[in-house]
Amino acid sequence: MAEPLILGEPSDRELSEQLLSVVWRPRSRLWLLAFAAASAGTGLFFLCAAITVSTGIGVFGNNIPVAWAFDIINFVWWVGIGHAGTFISAILLLLEQKWRTSINRFAEGMTLFAVIQAAMYPLLHLGRPWFGYWLVPYPSTLDVWPQFRSALPWDAAAIATYFTVSLLFWYVGLIPDFASLRDRAPGKARRVLYGIFALGWRGSTRQLTHYRVLYGLLAGLATPLVISVHSIVSSDFAMGLTPGWHATIFPPFFVAGAIFSGFAMVLTLLLPVRRMFGLENVVTQRHIGALAKMILVTAWIVIGSYIIEFFAAWYSGSEVESYQFFVARPTAPGAGVFWVQMVCNALVPQLLWSRRVRESGVALWIISVLVNVGMWAERYVIIVLSLQREFLPAQWGDFSPSWVDIGLFTGTLGFFSLLFLIFLRLFPFIPVSEVKELNHELRKGHG
């Protein structure tokens, strides 16, 4: 490994100072601008949500046969993005990948906010959202229970668990840094606030023995969890009969796609933030390069899945499946989205073979954005294109989004950005304690 993970040889104090001060340094113009835009998006989101709930989901473009569309596309897209954080935190932790250290908190934050976006859609897309709690087995006077053979209660359980575990993981990781802020932040109000969240953490070695076990335990849990979540999300489709859905490849395909898009989103956010906060010394070219390579790897898993999907459709001998893949996808209404998916997910990532591309911030950023576009397109293709061309040609349909669909999607980007911008202001988004530990380790190694 040529490139270092931490540039220069900063002292612990310098690191503390640099990484903690993000919460009290004055807001930049850029941040304020972004905040204003994100707030507007959030407003749009809640406006559209209110319209949806008060008049019915007819305000979406959904129809029969395309009964799921933007609502579930956005849901799956966000859940997918939400996979990167836990993957980086948990799996790379277990694999002792040192390069995870600088970026894990950042990715976890992104995960949480992405899962929040994702979790709103299943509720919002219900015909009668006020009865959403019927998916939970509670002692009701109706004496009727949820139906656990359906993949939807699985979904609810998976998303709830994933969110809770991610939150706990994130919070447990933050405790030492909260303690740091309690002791270091200027102004009593800040220190009290962070002090409450630090819960009185003293960094004693006795606490740390439990802490390290807990952190490892959570990582060990989160690893199968992160794989289970998108596998379960994929069962929303794979358990169905619909041609284009009914495939055993879906769980690994979805998990790979999720990590693919998650890493892309990490890059999309990390590259500007690194620039904005001047973090090139802790988030080095090595981190960026590792992320880029992960994207390339997962891109190939996704490409492999595409090939298997098409192969299975042909090999099944089913006219319905073959039609779905070989005729409907490339030519049916909305086929343009299919080609966007193919270009963005299969071709664009191949640029990452080039070291020059991997080292160019701008190129990487554009690629990461395109990958996210491609992954959104993939979900569109899976959901909308499949539903458009099902078994009975008489009931083939098409789909065009309503303004509320578009509003909810752009709105959710705004809401996500808003949460993320607030996160950047309130939390040390580079894990201070862990970077210091790594810094110490690296210096010892060198020295």
Binding site: V53, S54, T55, G56, I57, G58, F60, G61, N62, N63, I64, P65, A67, W68, P122, H125, L126, G127, R128, P129, W130, F131, G132, Y133, W134, L135, S140, T141, L142, V144, W145, P146, Q147, R149, S150, A151, L152, P153, A156, D236, M239, G240, L241, T242, E319, V320, Y323, L387, E390, F391, L392, P393, A394, Q395, W396, G397
Partner: protein, 987 residues
């Protein structure tokens, strides 16, 4: 309000009743015949353009909720068409006129009587009546009384959709205006000359049932009838044809002439060769001409002339003629209303040549004639324009909208010094009349009418007129001098006068109960062919053909043939066919939301009409669906969206009448384009229309089916009779047990199932409306239909195969298949759709949260979703419409899924009844709404445990199959493959 409901709901209340306390209103005196909560049925009749169809109407707590056919009535046989089914909604039409007026001022019935009931100094010379065609003996009486009181009064009967051609044709053939009567069941081979006799004619319900009787093939060994159809646009009848020939309207006569000419040749040969043969002798005896074994000489000569003039399709004509004549007296030729009288005359001639006495005969027309007091519409307009009309009375007819455009009726009506309109709506004609009286709906009226065969049918009300409406009889009685006319008394008095014998009261009660007077059909008239008239008519036809042929032969070099042009053109001279719409008829039902939303049986178009053109013409003109074209004829032009229609004759355009209404009807407003301005007089077809592409203009159409091919998937199977006989088990791979890992589900009791024979499904769609009426299916409106959000639980999928110019058609009623292993059920997260022990796929609306996963996982796509709270949106499901709702079926709120329940409310009601009586449900006791309505009886329903029932025996036929069987859903609804019976002589 909704949010408040949501708040309460969150507290755990599963319902939505915000206020818990409801009122209960008991009767003051209990009516003897009513048991609270038990619906009653009354027999009455509905009249369309003068012809009655008997119906049974269900009444719940005094509100009519459902109309079905009256099994005792010859025009219904228990079945009902879309118009009958939808009539109950017409009763609750939110746009029905609600008050009388004079000018713009409200007025009263007393004022009407005072103004119009008095004596007239001019012997009625200024008095004119304009009515729809009538068959009602009561109206006939009243017309007589008026003429007696005002001898100079004149009557005009006019309906834009009822052609006079059948009677004119009869006049040519027999010298008398006789009505053709048919028994389709008696025919083995049928030639339809542009006649949609299975769905679009008076008495169609009966013809369809008769047709189905000879059509069904219970086993491969069965015989079946053969249907030849020559027509312009594909019709339900055309879709049933074994051989269908798409011809421009003007070509049908040539086709008919060719076939009849060959029949003549055939008969002549037979007569010459085998006069001694008994069969031939029988046939010859049936010929009215009297020349044994042959055709009247004059007729034969002109037939030969026709044959010579029309040589192009001789081989085809010969084959058809041979087939028609193959069975003794088993051939039948039916001419359609759109065709000129000569074609009807040809049909009469053909039937005479075929000796089909059992299949075709004639009777007097059941329509009433005012004899000397009758006046044609153009004469009436002449009188109006000349200022000779003092008082114009218009009853129900809507000439201002649908009258011949060249007569300018709207303007003419305004020229009358005084005018009064009796109608259901404040429509175009009402706007031209000074006085307006709301008309009582059929379900609010006392009256009578005759069926096509003359059977007397009674009309009795189920409720008091909602808006104080009056019947035609009451208004006419005013002019007859009655001060206090009352429909019931008028009817009973008239009936009593005609009744001979004792016990009128008992007899009358029985008539009302049955809805018909038994044995009152008009007697057969043994009319003789009128050689002179026939020769004259056919000669006219021959001259025309010869002229056309000569004209065509001369300038061939110019290459004006449309087929020769390769590059696209912007306009083209074509023929046009005007057709009453299967849904709104001549426009009078345009405000009926069920009918507007009903997909057209053939094109699946809703909430619109369009210019139907052939795919080839669309290519030439460079147009596609929704592209607007301009249609110009006789100096008038209209703009219409194009709908490319497979199987449509090239070089012709079909337009449906009844749209583009301009009255005060809110639902009809702005729907479709008005095609009447293109029409000259009463013509149903014309030549020389110019169709021109209008660049850049489009009109959105709401079509419920966009793809018409099965893509070779095992969905709608069909075979020829020959192939079926050769390989009876051709559907074997589409049924039977599939391997499964799961244990067999335990189910007990009746096992409900449905079997549908696609061989006899004409696609007429009355089942769709019946389902809508029975199950409170919401209407969603055009915009929602465009988003494929229509709510019909039962739809008819239509698949074409073969060439797009002459497709083979299979109609497939598609409804919840009640799969034994239903894929919708295991994806529902809340147990809102589960299976009952008696094999129903249950849908529990109140448990549904609306994830729509069930719909995604339904391979048959029969689940419909309430995207909005449709009852709260607009007039389509408005206040008044709520009175129609079936109280036995939950009205679905927004956000819940719904689908066909196999009419579970009927099953449960019957089950409770049976169990109260301590017995089992009897075979045939549960009838679904679609089954009840179906004219051909293509839908059979019942329990698999009732082994003798059709629903079970049909499934055991070799040609039964399950749609998408390979998915392992084990549908309880099975289909019988469509069997065609093509003539081996015709390629």
């Amino acid at each position: 309000m909704k949010l408040l409901g949501a708040g309460l709901a969150l507290a755990g209340i599963p319902g939505c009743n915000v206020s818990r306390v409801e009122g209960i209103l008991p009767y003051i005196e209990e009516p003897r015949e009513v048991t609270a909560g038990v619906p009653r049925f009354y027999a009455t009749s509905l009249e369309l353009d003068g012809f009655a169809t008997g119906v049974l109407v269900q009444s719940v707590a005094g509100r009519p909720t459902k109309v079905d056919g009256n099994p005792d009535h010859p025009a219904s046989l228990g079945a009902s068409g879309v118009l009958e089914q939808a009539s109950v909604l017409g009763l609750y039409d939110p746009s029905r006129a609600r008050g009388m007026r004079e000018g713009k001022e409200p007025t009263s019935w007393e004022a009407v009587v005072k103004r119009f009931g008095g004596a007239r100094a001019d012997r009625g010379a200024g008095l004119r009546f304009l009515l729809l065609p009538q068959s009602s003996p009561l109206v006939g009486d009243l017309v007589g009384r008026i003429v007696a009181r005002h001898p100079e009064a004149r009557f005009t009967f006019h309906a834009p959709a009822l052609s006079d051609a059948p009677w004119e044709g009869a006049e040519m053939a027999f010298g008398r205006r006789l009505s053709p009567q048919r028994d389709v069941a008696a025919a083995r081979a049928i030639l339809s000359l542009d006649a949609d006799f299975l769905a679009g004619m008076p008495f169609s319900l009966r013809y369809a049932r008769q047709f189905a009787e000879r059509r069904r093939t219970p086993s491969p060994a069965s015989e079946m009838n053969r249907l030849y159809v020559v027509e312009t646009a594909l019709s339900p009848t055309g879709s049933m044809a074994d051989h269908r020939f798409a011809r421009r309207p003007g070509e049908v006569a040539r086709f008919a002439a060719a076939v009849v000419a060959e029949l003549g040749v055939l008969r002549a040969a037979e007569g010459a060769a085998g006069a001694a043969e008994e069969v031939a002798g029988g046939v010859a005896g049936s010929l009215a001409g009297g020349v044994a074994g042959s055709v009247p000489e004059g007729v034969r000569a002109v037939l030969m002339r026709l044959r010579a003039a029309e040589g192009a399709e001789r081989g085809l004509a010969q084959a058809i003629a041979r087939d028609l004549a193959a069975g003794p007296g088993e051939g039948l030729v039916i001419a359609g209303d759109r065709q000129r009288p000569e074609v009807h005359a040809l049909a009469h001639l053909a039937n005479a040549l075929l000796g089909s006495r059992k299949a075709a005969w004639t009777t007097e027309s059941p329509l009433i004639q005012a004899r000397a007091a009758q006046q044609s519409l153009s004469d009436l307009v002449g009188d109006l324009r000349a200022g000779r009309v003092e008082t114009l009375v218009v009853i129900e007819a809507n000439p201002s909208y649908a009258g011949p455009p060249e007569l300018g009726l709207s303007e003419a009506i305004r020229a009358a010094r005084e005018s009064i309109y009796l109608g259901h709506h404040e429509n175009e004609t009402a706007a031209d009349c000074r006085w307006f009286v709301p008309m009582a709906h059929s379900l609010e009226s006392w009256g009578d009418a005759r069926a096509w065969d003359g059977t007397l049918s009674t009309v009795q009300p189920l409720l008091q007129p909602l808006f104080g409406g009056r019947t035609a009889g009451e208004l006419l009685a005013v002019f007859a001098g009655e001060m206090y006319p009352e429909a019931r008394r008028l009817l009973e008095d008239a009936a009593r006068r005609r009744y001979q014998g004792e016990g009128f009261g008992r007899w009358w009660a029985e008539v009302l109960r049955r809805g018909t007077v038994a044995g009152s059909a008009l007697p057969r008239v043994e009319a003789e062919l009128d050689e002179v008239g026939l020769v004259e008519a056919l000669t006219r036809l021959a001259v025309r053909f010869e002229t056309v042929r000569a004209a065509r032969a001369a300038p061939t070099a110019s290459g004006d043939s449309a087929d020769a042009t390769v590059e696209t053109v912007t306009d083209e001279v074509v023929e046009v066919a005007f057709t009453p719409c299967a849904r709104v008829h001549d426009g009078r039902f345009a405000n009926n939301a069920w009918l507007q939303e009903l997909p057209d049986p053939v094109t699946k178009l809703t909430w619109d009409n369009a210019a139907l053109i052939s795919p080839a013409m669309a290519r030439r003109l460079g147009v596609e669906n929704e592209q607007v074209v301009e249609l110009s004829l006789g100096g008038r032009s209209v703009r219409a969206p194009v709908l490319v229609s497979p199987g449509h004759a090239d070089g012709a355009v079909t337009v449906h009448l009844g749209y583009g209404r301009r009255g005060a009807e809110v639902i009809a407003e702005g729907v479709g384009f008005d095609a009447y301005p293109l029409r000259q007089g009463e013509v149903a077809a014309a030549e020389g229309m110019v169709i021109r592409r209008v660049e850049g203009e489009r009109h959105a159409l709401a079509i419920t089916q966009e793809h018409w091919s099965t893509h070779g998937r095992p969905i709608a199977l069909s075979a020829t009779l020959e192939a079926y006989r050769k390989e009876p088990a051709f559907t074997a791979s589409q049924k039977g047990r599939l391997p499964t890992l799961l244990p067999e589900p335990r189910r007990a009791g009746e096992q409900w199932a449905m079997t549908i024979d696609t061989s006899i499904c004409t696609g007429c769609s009355s089942c769709v409306v019946a389902c809508q009426a029975e199950n409170n299916v919401h209407v969603v409106g055009k915009e929602q239909v465009r988003k494929s959000r229509e709510m019909h639980w039962l739809r008819i999928d239509t698949y074409y195969s073969g060439a797009v110019e002459a497709p083979e058609v299979v109609h497939q009623p598609m409804l919840c298949q009640h799969c034994e292993k239903a894929p919708c059920e295991y994806v529902c997260p809340t147990n809102a759709t589960v299976h009952s022990p008696d094999g129903l796929n249950e849908m529990v609306y109140n448990r549904c949260v609306g994830t729509r996963f069930c719909s995604n996982n339904c391979p048959y796509k029969v689940r419909r979703f309430n995207f909005f709270d449709y009852p709260e949106r607009g007039p389509l499901n408005d206040e008044l419409v709520r009175l129609q709702r079936n109280p036995e079926v939950t009205v679905r709120e927004r956000g819940v899924m719904e689908k066909c329940t196999y009419c579970v409310q009927r099953i449960r009601k019957t089950g409770i009844q049976a169990r109260v009586e301590g017995r089992d449900i009897q075979p045939g006791e549960v009838v679904t709404a679609c089954q009840q309505a179906c004219p051909t009886g293509a839908i059979q329903f019942g329990s698999l445990s009732h082994t003798g029932e059709k629903v079970v025996t049909w499934r055991e036929e070799p040609r039964s199959y399950a749609v998408l069987h390979e998915l392992g859903t084990r549908p309880r609804t099975m289909y019988l493959a469509r069997i065609h019976n093509p003539n081996p002589e015709i390629g």
